[in-house]
Amino acid sequence: MRAGNASGWRHATVFAFALLCPGGAARAEGAESWKEIETKYIFGFTTGSGIGIEGEKEFTVDSIGRFGKRDGHYAATETKFEYEFTPSQFIQIEFGALGSTHNIGGVADLDSRNAAAFAGGFAEFRYLALERTSNNPFSVTLAFEPNVRLIDETSGEHVHNYEFETAVNADVELLRNRLYAGFDLLYEPEVTWTATGDTIREATLGGSAALSLRITPDVLVGAEVWYLRHYDSPTFSAFTGDAIMLGPTLYVQLTPKMFMIAAWNCQVWGREVGNSLPLNLSEFQRNRARLKFAWEF
Protein backbone atom coordinates (compact mmCIF):
# COMPACT_ATOMS: atom_id res chain seq x y z
CA MET A 1 0.00 0.00 0.00
CA ARG A 2 2.75 2.34 1.04
CA ALA A 3 4.91 1.43 -1.97
CA GLY A 4 1.93 1.85 -4.26
CA ASN A 5 1.20 5.32 -2.92
CA ALA A 6 4.82 6.36 -3.31
CA SER A 7 4.88 5.04 -6.87
CA GLY A 8 1.65 6.85 -7.81
CA TRP A 9 2.91 10.05 -6.29
CA ARG A 10 6.17 9.78 -8.24
CA HIS A 11 4.31 9.23 -11.50
CA ALA A 12 2.19 12.32 -10.79
CA THR A 13 5.36 14.29 -10.15
CA VAL A 14 6.95 13.03 -13.39
CA PHE A 15 3.84 14.17 -15.24
CA ALA A 16 3.89 17.61 -13.60
CA PHE A 17 7.61 17.98 -14.28
CA ALA A 18 7.11 16.98 -17.93
CA LEU A 19 4.41 19.65 -18.29
CA LEU A 20 6.55 22.34 -16.70
CA CYS A 21 9.72 21.43 -18.54
CA PRO A 22 9.37 20.19 -22.14
CA GLY A 23 11.39 17.03 -22.60
CA GLY A 24 11.82 16.72 -18.82
CA ALA A 25 10.34 13.24 -18.61
CA ALA A 26 12.67 11.99 -21.31
CA ARG A 27 15.68 13.44 -19.56
CA ALA A 28 14.48 12.00 -16.23
CA GLU A 29 14.63 8.54 -17.81
CA GLY A 30 18.35 9.13 -18.58
CA ALA A 31 18.97 10.02 -14.93
CA GLU A 32 18.03 6.46 -13.94
CA SER A 33 21.60 5.41 -14.78
CA TRP A 34 23.20 8.17 -12.66
CA LYS A 35 24.75 7.36 -9.32
CA GLU A 36 22.72 8.21 -6.21
CA ILE A 37 23.63 11.54 -4.64
CA GLU A 38 24.17 12.69 -1.07
CA THR A 39 21.38 15.20 -0.30
CA LYS A 40 22.79 17.05 2.70
CA TYR A 41 24.30 19.97 0.80
CA ILE A 42 22.21 20.27 -2.36
CA PHE A 43 19.68 22.84 -1.03
CA GLY A 44 21.84 25.89 -0.17
CA PHE A 45 21.13 27.18 3.37
CA THR A 46 18.56 24.41 3.74
CA THR A 47 20.22 21.23 4.97
CA GLY A 48 19.14 17.90 3.51
CA SER A 49 18.81 14.66 5.46
CA GLY A 50 22.04 13.01 4.29
CA ILE A 51 24.56 11.89 6.91
CA GLY A 52 27.28 10.54 4.63
CA ILE A 53 28.46 6.94 4.58
CA GLU A 54 30.00 4.96 7.42
CA GLY A 55 33.71 5.59 7.74
CA GLU A 56 33.66 8.68 5.51
CA LYS A 57 35.60 11.73 6.71
CA GLU A 58 35.39 15.22 5.33
CA PHE A 59 37.09 18.58 5.85
CA THR A 60 35.11 21.63 4.85
CA VAL A 61 35.46 25.39 4.77
CA ASP A 62 31.99 26.88 5.02
CA SER A 63 31.56 30.68 4.82
CA ILE A 64 28.33 32.57 5.38
CA GLY A 65 28.27 36.30 4.62
CA ARG A 66 25.55 38.72 5.78
CA PHE A 67 25.21 42.02 3.99
CA GLY A 68 23.09 45.15 4.39
CA LYS A 69 21.33 46.89 7.28
CA ARG A 70 18.92 49.85 7.29
CA ASP A 71 21.69 52.44 6.86
CA GLY A 72 25.47 52.76 6.45
CA HIS A 73 27.44 49.77 5.21
CA TYR A 74 27.36 46.34 6.79
CA ALA A 75 29.26 43.17 5.84
CA ALA A 76 29.87 40.30 8.26
CA THR A 77 31.11 36.78 7.60
CA GLU A 78 31.42 33.66 9.70
CA THR A 79 33.51 30.74 8.46
CA LYS A 80 33.38 27.21 9.82
CA PHE A 81 36.57 25.14 9.56
CA GLU A 82 34.94 21.80 10.02
CA TYR A 83 35.86 18.13 10.42
CA GLU A 84 32.97 15.79 9.70
CA PHE A 85 32.78 12.02 10.08
CA THR A 86 30.19 9.26 10.05
CA PRO A 87 30.94 6.65 12.73
CA SER A 88 27.85 4.52 12.05
CA GLN A 89 25.15 4.11 9.42
CA PHE A 90 22.78 6.35 11.45
CA ILE A 91 24.97 9.01 13.04
CA GLN A 92 27.16 11.85 11.81
CA ILE A 93 29.35 14.04 14.00
CA GLU A 94 30.98 17.35 13.12
CA PHE A 95 33.10 19.83 15.03
CA GLY A 96 35.37 22.71 14.30
CA ALA A 97 36.44 26.30 14.78
CA LEU A 98 34.75 29.56 13.79
CA GLY A 99 36.37 32.62 12.27
CA SER A 100 34.61 35.92 11.66
CA THR A 101 35.03 39.24 9.90
CA HIS A 102 33.06 42.47 10.40
CA ASN A 103 33.12 45.56 8.22
CA ILE A 104 30.59 47.98 9.70
CA GLY A 105 30.24 51.74 9.28
CA GLY A 106 27.42 54.17 9.94
CA VAL A 107 24.85 51.58 11.03
CA ALA A 108 22.43 52.65 13.75
CA ASP A 109 22.92 50.78 17.08
CA LEU A 110 26.16 49.11 15.88
CA ASP A 111 29.69 50.37 16.49
CA SER A 112 31.78 50.90 13.39
CA ARG A 113 34.57 48.36 13.06
CA ASN A 114 36.78 46.57 10.56
CA ALA A 115 38.06 43.39 12.17
CA ALA A 116 38.82 39.70 11.69
CA ALA A 117 39.03 37.26 14.59
CA PHE A 118 38.89 33.70 15.86
CA ALA A 119 35.24 33.55 16.90
CA GLY A 120 34.71 30.27 18.78
CA GLY A 121 33.84 26.64 18.16
CA PHE A 122 30.97 24.29 17.48
CA ALA A 123 29.95 20.63 17.39
CA GLU A 124 27.07 18.96 15.59
CA PHE A 125 25.37 15.63 16.11
CA ARG A 126 23.06 14.28 13.39
CA TYR A 127 20.80 11.26 13.71
CA LEU A 128 19.06 9.72 10.70
CA ALA A 129 15.54 9.07 12.02
CA LEU A 130 13.86 7.97 8.78
CA GLU A 131 15.88 6.63 5.86
CA ARG A 132 15.04 6.73 2.17
CA THR A 133 14.62 3.43 0.34
CA SER A 134 13.49 2.62 -3.19
CA ASN A 135 9.97 2.25 -1.73
CA ASN A 136 10.00 5.41 0.39
CA PRO A 137 11.28 8.70 -1.06
CA PHE A 138 11.23 10.56 2.32
CA SER A 139 14.18 10.89 4.63
CA VAL A 140 14.43 12.76 7.95
CA THR A 141 17.42 13.65 10.13
CA LEU A 142 17.47 15.31 13.57
CA ALA A 143 20.37 17.68 14.20
CA PHE A 144 21.73 19.29 17.38
CA GLU A 145 24.46 21.90 17.20
CA PRO A 146 25.93 23.63 20.25
CA ASN A 147 27.95 26.75 19.38
CA VAL A 148 30.25 28.80 21.57
CA ARG A 149 31.10 32.29 20.32
CA LEU A 150 33.55 34.84 21.62
CA ILE A 151 32.58 37.37 18.94
CA ASP A 152 28.98 38.46 18.43
CA GLU A 153 27.73 37.35 15.01
CA THR A 154 25.94 40.64 14.26
CA SER A 155 27.96 43.39 15.94
CA GLY A 156 31.46 41.87 16.08
CA GLU A 157 31.76 42.80 19.79
CA HIS A 158 33.57 40.56 22.28
CA VAL A 159 30.95 38.47 24.09
CA HIS A 160 30.35 35.01 25.52
CA ASN A 161 27.55 33.51 23.46
CA TYR A 162 26.12 29.98 23.81
CA GLU A 163 23.71 28.77 21.18
CA PHE A 164 21.99 25.39 20.90
CA GLU A 165 20.66 24.94 17.38
CA THR A 166 18.09 22.18 16.98
CA ALA A 167 16.87 21.27 13.52
CA VAL A 168 14.78 18.78 11.61
CA ASN A 169 16.24 18.21 8.12
CA ALA A 170 13.91 16.40 5.73
CA ASP A 171 13.98 15.77 2.01
CA VAL A 172 12.11 13.85 -0.62
CA GLU A 173 13.27 12.49 -3.96
CA LEU A 174 10.55 13.68 -6.35
CA LEU A 175 12.13 12.25 -9.50
CA ARG A 176 14.68 9.48 -9.18
CA ASN A 177 18.23 10.87 -9.27
CA ARG A 178 16.86 14.12 -10.73
CA LEU A 179 14.59 16.32 -8.61
CA TYR A 180 14.65 16.78 -4.83
CA ALA A 181 12.70 18.88 -2.32
CA GLY A 182 14.15 19.79 1.06
CA PHE A 183 12.49 21.09 4.25
CA ASP A 184 14.07 22.36 7.46
CA LEU A 185 12.59 23.29 10.82
CA LEU A 186 14.87 25.33 13.05
CA TYR A 187 14.85 26.30 16.74
CA GLU A 188 17.88 28.23 17.90
CA PRO A 189 17.88 29.43 21.54
CA GLU A 190 20.91 31.38 22.73
CA VAL A 191 22.24 33.33 25.67
CA THR A 192 24.86 36.08 25.46
CA TRP A 193 26.91 37.78 28.16
CA THR A 194 28.21 41.10 26.87
CA ALA A 195 31.43 42.89 27.86
CA THR A 196 29.35 45.33 29.92
CA GLY A 197 27.85 42.50 31.98
CA ASP A 198 24.41 42.38 30.37
CA THR A 199 22.70 39.04 29.78
CA ILE A 200 20.69 38.68 26.57
CA ARG A 201 18.44 35.69 25.99
CA GLU A 202 16.90 35.23 22.56
CA ALA A 203 15.71 32.61 20.08
CA THR A 204 15.21 32.19 16.37
CA LEU A 205 12.50 29.93 15.01
CA GLY A 206 12.22 29.13 11.34
CA GLY A 207 11.41 26.85 8.49
CA SER A 208 12.48 26.46 4.89
CA ALA A 209 11.47 24.78 1.67
CA ALA A 210 13.84 24.14 -1.23
CA LEU A 211 13.82 22.51 -4.63
CA SER A 212 16.96 21.22 -6.37
CA LEU A 213 17.20 19.93 -9.93
CA ARG A 214 20.10 17.75 -11.07
CA ILE A 215 20.87 19.10 -14.52
CA THR A 216 23.94 16.90 -15.06
CA PRO A 217 25.31 14.05 -12.90
CA ASP A 218 27.57 16.55 -11.11
CA VAL A 219 25.56 19.80 -11.05
CA LEU A 220 22.35 20.74 -9.22
CA VAL A 221 20.60 24.10 -9.34
CA GLY A 222 17.64 25.17 -7.28
CA ALA A 223 15.87 27.73 -5.16
CA GLU A 224 14.89 28.00 -1.52
CA VAL A 225 12.70 30.12 0.73
CA TRP A 226 13.17 30.69 4.48
CA TYR A 227 10.72 32.10 7.02
CA LEU A 228 12.47 33.23 10.21
CA ARG A 229 11.03 34.62 13.48
CA HIS A 230 13.04 36.28 16.23
CA TYR A 231 12.20 36.41 19.95
CA ASP A 232 13.82 38.20 22.88
CA SER A 233 13.31 35.07 24.97
CA PRO A 234 13.94 31.35 24.42
CA THR A 235 10.26 30.54 25.10
CA PHE A 236 8.66 32.62 22.31
CA SER A 237 7.13 35.08 24.79
CA ALA A 238 8.69 38.25 23.29
CA PHE A 239 8.28 38.34 19.52
CA THR A 240 10.41 41.06 17.90
CA GLY A 241 10.04 40.46 14.17
CA ASP A 242 10.17 38.08 11.24
CA ALA A 243 11.45 37.89 7.68
CA ILE A 244 11.26 35.88 4.48
CA MET A 245 14.47 35.14 2.58
CA LEU A 246 14.47 33.83 -0.98
CA GLY A 247 17.20 32.88 -3.42
CA PRO A 248 18.99 30.48 -5.77
CA THR A 249 21.27 27.53 -4.90
CA LEU A 250 24.06 25.66 -6.68
CA TYR A 251 25.86 22.38 -5.97
CA VAL A 252 28.82 21.18 -8.03
CA GLN A 253 30.66 17.87 -7.60
CA LEU A 254 34.12 19.01 -8.69
CA THR A 255 35.83 15.61 -8.41
CA PRO A 256 34.66 12.29 -6.93
CA LYS A 257 36.02 13.45 -3.54
CA MET A 258 35.45 17.21 -3.70
CA PHE A 259 32.38 19.42 -4.02
CA MET A 260 31.29 23.02 -3.59
CA ILE A 261 28.02 24.76 -2.86
CA ALA A 262 26.93 28.35 -3.34
CA ALA A 263 23.71 30.01 -2.27
CA TRP A 264 22.35 33.51 -2.01
CA ASN A 265 19.25 34.67 -0.13
CA CYS A 266 17.63 38.11 -0.32
CA GLN A 267 15.12 39.36 2.23
CA VAL A 268 11.93 39.87 0.24
CA TRP A 269 9.60 40.60 3.14
CA GLY A 270 10.03 41.43 6.80
CA ARG A 271 8.65 43.39 9.73
CA GLU A 272 9.96 44.67 13.04
CA VAL A 273 7.73 45.08 16.07
CA GLY A 274 7.40 48.84 16.76
CA ASN A 275 8.78 49.87 13.37
CA SER A 276 6.56 50.52 10.37
CA LEU A 277 9.41 50.48 7.84
CA PRO A 278 9.47 47.55 5.40
CA LEU A 279 11.80 44.56 5.98
CA ASN A 280 13.37 43.39 9.23
CA LEU A 281 16.93 44.69 9.15
CA SER A 282 17.34 44.75 12.90
CA GLU A 283 17.54 41.00 13.56
CA PHE A 284 18.19 39.89 9.99
CA GLN A 285 20.14 41.20 7.00
CA ARG A 286 19.19 42.38 3.52
CA ASN A 287 21.22 39.62 1.82
CA ARG A 288 23.12 36.55 2.87
CA ALA A 289 25.42 34.30 0.85
CA ARG A 290 27.01 30.90 1.44
CA LEU A 291 30.09 29.38 -0.15
CA LYS A 292 31.35 25.99 0.93
CA PHE A 293 34.13 23.70 -0.26
CA ALA A 294 34.45 20.13 0.99
CA TRP A 295 37.11 17.45 0.62
CA GLU A 296 36.27 13.84 1.45
CA PHE A 297 39.00 11.43 2.47
Binding site: I51, I53, F125, R132, S134, W193
Partner: protein, 117 residues
Protein backbone atom coordinates in the same frame (compact mmCIF):
# COMPACT_ATOMS: atom_id res chain seq x y z
CA UNK B 1 29.98 30.35 32.72
CA UNK B 2 32.16 27.47 31.55
CA UNK B 3 29.57 24.99 32.92
CA UNK B 4 26.90 26.59 30.73
CA UNK B 5 29.14 25.91 27.75
CA UNK B 6 29.77 22.25 28.59
CA UNK B 7 26.19 21.25 29.41
CA UNK B 8 24.77 21.18 25.86
CA UNK B 9 27.89 19.38 24.60
CA UNK B 10 27.54 16.74 27.36
CA UNK B 11 23.85 16.30 26.56
CA UNK B 12 24.65 15.91 22.86
CA UNK B 13 27.34 13.27 23.54
CA UNK B 14 25.04 11.39 25.95
CA UNK B 15 22.29 11.34 23.32
CA UNK B 16 24.79 10.12 20.70
CA UNK B 17 25.91 7.22 22.94
CA UNK B 18 22.32 6.26 23.83
CA UNK B 19 21.19 6.18 20.20
CA UNK B 20 24.31 4.28 19.09
CA UNK B 21 23.57 1.61 21.74
CA UNK B 22 19.91 1.42 20.71
CA UNK B 23 20.95 0.67 17.14
CA UNK B 24 23.78 -1.71 18.04
CA UNK B 25 21.77 -3.98 20.36
CA UNK B 26 19.20 -5.46 17.91
CA UNK B 27 21.82 -5.78 15.15
CA UNK B 28 24.05 -7.86 17.40
CA UNK B 29 21.14 -10.10 18.39
CA UNK B 30 20.26 -11.06 14.79
CA UNK B 31 22.27 -13.39 12.60
CA UNK B 32 23.62 -11.64 9.53
CA UNK B 33 22.84 -12.69 5.97
CA UNK B 34 26.02 -13.12 3.93
CA UNK B 35 26.34 -11.84 0.37
CA UNK B 36 29.34 -13.03 -1.65
CA UNK B 37 30.62 -10.95 -4.55
CA UNK B 38 33.58 -11.40 -6.85
CA UNK B 39 35.15 -8.40 -8.57
CA UNK B 40 37.07 -9.24 -11.73
CA UNK B 41 37.77 -7.54 -15.06
CA UNK B 42 36.24 -4.35 -13.61
CA UNK B 43 32.81 -5.85 -12.88
CA UNK B 44 30.84 -7.37 -10.01
CA UNK B 45 29.89 -11.04 -10.36
CA UNK B 46 27.02 -11.44 -9.76
CA UNK B 47 25.83 -7.85 -10.12
CA UNK B 48 22.32 -8.56 -8.79
CA UNK B 49 22.10 -10.11 -5.34
CA UNK B 50 19.35 -10.67 -2.76
CA UNK B 51 19.03 -10.61 1.02
CA UNK B 52 16.18 -10.95 3.55
CA UNK B 53 14.63 -7.83 5.09
CA UNK B 54 15.22 -6.71 8.69
CA UNK B 55 18.45 -8.69 9.11
CA UNK B 56 22.01 -7.37 9.08
CA UNK B 57 23.89 -8.05 5.85
CA UNK B 58 27.58 -8.90 5.49
CA UNK B 59 29.12 -8.31 2.06
CA UNK B 60 32.22 -10.41 1.35
CA UNK B 61 33.81 -8.80 -1.69
CA UNK B 62 36.68 -10.73 -3.28
CA UNK B 63 38.78 -8.50 -5.51
CA UNK B 64 40.38 -10.77 -8.13
CA UNK B 65 41.81 -7.90 -10.16
CA UNK B 66 45.38 -6.68 -9.95
CA UNK B 67 44.43 -3.21 -8.70
CA UNK B 68 42.45 -1.93 -5.72
CA UNK B 69 38.72 -1.19 -5.92
CA UNK B 70 36.41 0.75 -3.56
CA UNK B 71 33.07 -0.89 -2.77
CA UNK B 72 30.68 2.00 -2.13
CA UNK B 73 26.96 2.64 -1.81
CA UNK B 74 25.12 5.84 -0.85
CA UNK B 75 21.91 3.99 0.04
CA UNK B 76 23.67 1.28 2.05
CA UNK B 77 25.85 4.06 3.53
CA UNK B 78 29.08 2.03 3.39
CA UNK B 79 32.42 2.24 1.62
CA UNK B 80 35.54 0.09 1.77
CA UNK B 81 38.73 -0.04 -0.26
CA UNK B 82 39.57 -3.65 -1.17
CA UNK B 83 43.19 -4.18 -2.13
CA UNK B 84 44.14 -6.21 -5.20
CA UNK B 85 43.86 -10.00 -4.79
CA UNK B 86 42.19 -9.74 -1.39
CA UNK B 87 38.78 -9.86 0.30
CA UNK B 88 36.90 -7.03 1.99
CA UNK B 89 34.15 -7.53 4.59
CA UNK B 90 31.46 -4.85 4.83
CA UNK B 91 28.84 -4.91 7.59
CA UNK B 92 25.44 -3.36 6.85
CA UNK B 93 22.58 -2.63 9.24
CA UNK B 94 19.25 -4.54 9.01
CA UNK B 95 17.62 -3.26 5.83
CA UNK B 96 14.06 -2.47 4.86
CA UNK B 97 12.66 -4.00 1.65
CA UNK B 98 13.90 -2.22 -1.46
CA UNK B 99 16.67 -1.99 -4.02
CA UNK B 100 20.09 -0.75 -2.92
CA UNK B 101 22.68 0.13 -5.57
CA UNK B 102 26.42 -0.31 -5.09
CA UNK B 103 29.43 0.46 -7.29
CA UNK B 104 33.22 0.64 -7.49
CA UNK B 105 34.11 4.26 -6.73
CA UNK B 106 37.33 3.83 -8.75
CA UNK B 107 35.49 2.52 -11.82
CA UNK B 108 32.33 4.31 -12.98
CA UNK B 109 31.16 1.31 -15.03
CA UNK B 110 31.19 -1.31 -12.26
CA UNK B 111 27.67 -1.33 -10.84
CA UNK B 112 25.44 -3.76 -8.97
CA UNK B 113 22.37 -3.87 -6.77
CA UNK B 114 21.09 -5.63 -3.69
CA UNK B 115 17.38 -6.44 -3.60
CA UNK B 116 16.02 -6.82 -0.08
CA UNK B 117 12.71 -8.66 0.33
Amino acid sequence: MFHHMLMPIRLTLAAACAIALLHAAPALAQQAAEVHLNYSNGAFQPNEVRAPADRPVVFRVKNLDSKAMEFESKSLRVEKVVAAKSEGVINVRPLKPGRYEFYDDFNEKARGALTVQ
